[in-house]
Amino acid sequence: MNRMQRSHVLAALGLALALIAADLQAQSAPPAARPALTPGNGKLLLTGGVSSIDGAAGGGLTPWAVIGGYATEGEFGGTAFVTRATTQNYALTTWGAAVGFHDRVELSLARQEFNAGVVVPDTTLKLDIVGIKLRVAGDAVLEADTLMPQIAIGAEFKRSNPGAAVGGVLDSVAAKRGGVDLYVSATKLFLAPGILVNGTLRATEANQNGLLGFGSSDQGRYQLEPELSVVLLLRKNLALGAEYRFKPNNLAFAGSAFIEDDWKDLFIAWAPTKNVSVTAAYVDLGNIVGHTRQTGGYLSVQLAY
């Protein structure tokens, strides 16, 4: 971990601790009666979302306003996940873990490894992500008599390691190795019809989510990208969803091979118990470095404790 990455992690942890302390401080109970957080799994099934590929809780591609895991107010708990997505020419493996505190703060870590061997032999693009999310308002599940969603803000501190060959290409287009995505999400479960909707607005300069670095000599500024998820609850432990994630297109100037498309998926998530969930999806990742219409399967397993 280099100095910038380390300072990002420390900043994220410091912020999280300060937020937790401030939140507990805001409670009206006198200090002696203020309860400490205990390990717990009080949330209803599936209401912690699944692990997104960036490590934050939400859908498979998008962070939602829900805090990951099953811990609810007064509790803390964690999740770990591994995801594999394969398209015609590429494969992405990602794994990570997250902890949720008081249903208010989420910290996550994820590592992505993208097999780009079809383009450059023996090349794996790596991406490390440290995530922090803070619920700022609302409750996604129980506020069934209002339109008010749960709202959260978050940051994903990303560091890419593209290897020497691809690294040289990224240097030539001035794509940076590190970057931060900032987002705000609004999530609501419409309990009566059993439909969950999430809208996320992400400020990013990441190329292919960060796998190809951040920004370029052509596009030096952040762009606002919306992301939408719609999920139908089929049973209390089974959900069917769709996601659409708009993406920037910072490297297109370098040639049509570098055009970046929006990402979409159709998924089904099954949580037989509170300890494990499985998500299977059909993903459409569009053009990735010269190979168009990359579509394929996605499988993710999340453990919660």
Binding site: Q27, S28, A29, A33, R34, P35, G40, G42, K43, L44, T72, E73, G74, E75, D103, V141, L142, E143, A144, D145, T146, L147, A186, K188, F190, L191, A192, P193, G194, I195, V197, G199, L201, Q219, Q223, L224, E225, P226, L228, V230, L233, L234, R235, K236, F246, N249, A252, F253, S256, I259
Partner: protein
Amino acid sequence: MTFSHGAMRLRSWARSSVVCAGLIAVACIGAGAAHAQSAADDALYRQFGGQPGLVTLTDDFMLRLLADPRMGPFFKDVDQKHVKEELVLQFCEVSGGPCKRDGPNMKKAHAGIDVTRTDFNALVEVLQLSMDAQGIAFGTQNRMLAKLAPMHREIVNFPP
């Protein structure tokens, strides 16, 4: 194919607007579904089998609550007959049935005990199992839960 910066930003704002419009549309559908039920009045009450259905459900519900390791402690010492009557009145009233629960409001009724969010959710889970056992369809269950869910504001009182 490349875009100028201006066109890119315009495209980005257009996308955001489309997505926002889509979200508002879905929210209206969600709200519309909720309002449609209240306009149909006692449809939910009838889907639960009216008074006999609710009594059967509540009898089963109380048995499961007492047997549940999380919920048992809350209910083992209460006047179970009285609590069941109150529950039937509550389910009847919120589902559009011909009842009015006159007892103390939810906040007062739970004021003497610590009820956490976890406790509230655990009760929901037990209720779901009871409704499953009564063969109530998932959508119907959710419509009832949607009526009951906002009560968490008055019932959950810990941490304060």
